[in-house]
């Protein structure tokens, strides 16, 4: 977040990539793309490309992480070395560890973990192309993959960010807006109850702007939820 910038990211209510302030990037979701996973999903969100695979429920390793009364969700978020402009060093870093952790926490809220004592549900998310908003994209893809794996849960969780550019609150920041904008607010909700399972904020927002950003991100999540449902219905023949 540079905070101050001369760059004109939004002009007369139209952003640099031609979107309106409350418009999402183009999204494509396909469920069941990986043969060896129990459930999987491929997601394209603007220029973001993410694969998610779910393995389990299965016996939890290492043993000391087992919970006697419930399952744990072990999420793993990784970015491919070629996913960004400058080659990213492969492997875990501070950022991916954090995202893996918050995604695990979010899923433990919706997955019926008490149905599978001592088990672990592995959720692997691989970003093959990154263009801002990959944690939201990864979480959304992982949600669809979990449903595809037949794991019982309360609801799928869509995730979408809003932010502030040139003092205007907008939905779904792209790379430029993320780098030169003033704030970024990723949000994930349970659509049926409206509960928040993930909320982060990077940058500065006034209380009023925060409310507006929350409303915008929530409506973005609801739009996304419809697309996730369509993806699953397509893959299971609910839609003709």
């Amino acid at each position: 977040m540079a905070g101050q910038t001369d760059m004109e990211l939004i002009k007369n209510g139209i952003r640099k990539d031609g979107r309106k302030p409350d418009e999402l990037r183009e999204i494509k979701i396909v469920a069941g793309v990986l043969d060896n996973a129990d459930g999987s999903c491929y997601l394209e969100w603007g220029n973001n490309k993410v694969y998610a695979g779910v393995f389990g429920p299965m016996e939890c390793h290492p043993r000391h992480k087992q919970k006697a009364d419930r399952a744990i969700v072990q999420a793993r978020y990784t970015m491919a070395p070629f996913s960004v402009n400058d080659r990213k060093r492969p492997g875990l870093d501070r950022r991916s560890t954090e995202i893996s952790y918050i995604v695990s926490q979010a899923f433990e809220k919706v997955v019926m973990v008490e149905d599978f004592p001592k088990a672990s549900i592995r959720v692997d998310m691989q970003v093959v192309e990154a263009h801002a908003g990959t944690r939201c994209a990864a979480l959304t893809a992982a949600s669809v993959a979990l449903a595809d794996a037949g794991i019982p849960m309360i609801d799928m969780i869509p995730s979408c960010a809003s932010g502030k550019i040139n003092d205007v609150v907008v939905l779904d920041l792209n790379k430029e807006e993320d780098n030169y904008g003033q704030a970024d607010l990723p949000l994930a909700i349970i659509p049926s109850t409206g509960e928040v399972v993930l909320l982060q904020l990077d940058g500065h927002l006034t209380p009023d702007e925060f409310e507006l950003a929350m409303d915008l991100a929530t409506s973005g999540c609801m739009d996304l939820y419809k697309k996730m449902r369509d993806a699953l219905e397509n893959s299971y023949g609910g839609k003709k």
Binding site: F116, K118, A149, I151, P152, I154, K240
Partner: protein, 223 residues
């Protein structure tokens, strides 16, 4: 699954979290929230004899006592075998349930890693662990043949009405076939016959929701 009319047209596809309007008692694949019933998995809802169920389309095998299954040895202990049955956890086969006289520490002589058996689920407990037995009816070790794995929810489709589909495959390929409830299928016969039977079963698994499957399989087997 486009084009063809679907056998599922009279049932409704539900996704996790979907509200189900019903007066029936809750069965499986659902959860209750604020007195209302929601689906917890991707599946088809069915409202039969006073119970509402959602039959999941995907997911791992959920063992039930009495199920006949095919198990593959994954690990040997001094007096037990750990068998892979395609569920969340490996199943235990105790030496006393094997029907063999096993000296302590000599389990691998009877069943080593990769060996398959035709067995029955004898116990399932609340914590999700389960045991299988070789001492029932026609349970035995499986020699020769191939094992293929399909989605356990498609097992009824492979068998067909009163076994119509499976006898069609059996008669046309001259193979011996045993279908486990866990979606593991053992096929024995000549190499080409096994390959044909396998192709037929994989087709059924892939297109389980489409109609006119019997005709399609007949055509495939005639080749």
């Amino acid at each position: 699954m486009s084009g063809e009319s679907s056998v599922t047209s009279n049932r409704k596809l539900v996704l996790p979290g979907d509200l189900i309007e019903t007066k029936s008692k809750p069965g499986k694949g659902i959860f209750r929230s604020e007195g209302r019933i929601h689906s917890s998995v991707v599946g088809y809802s069915s409202d039969k004899s006073g119970y509402i169920n959602v039959n999941a389309i995907t997911g791992r095998y959920n063992p039930k006592v009495g199920d006949k299954i095919i198990a593959v040895c994954a690990e040997t202990g001094p007096s037990i075998w750990r068998m892979n049955i395609g569920s969340s956890f490996n199943s235990t086969l105790h030496h006393s349930e094997s029907g063999w006289k096993v000296p302590f520490g000599d389990t691998a002589r009877f069943l080593s890693i990769g060996d398959a058996i035709w067995a029955e689920v004898s116990m399932v407990d609340a914590s999700g662990s389960h045991q299988i037995s070789l001492k029932k009816d026609d349970c035995r070790k499986l020699y020769s043949g191939n094992i293929i794995k399909i989605n356990p929810t498609n097992v009824p489709r492979i068998i067909g009405k009163q076994g119509s589909m499976i006898s069609l495959i059996r008669d046309n390929t001259k193979t011996r076939i045993q279908i486990g409830q866990n979606g593991y299928i053992w096929i024995d016969g000549k190499g080409d016959d096994i390959a044909l039977a396998q192709e037929a079963m994989e087709t059924i698994d892939r297109e389980a929701t489409s109609e006119g499957l019997t005709k399609k399989i007949e055509k495939l087997l005639e080749k």
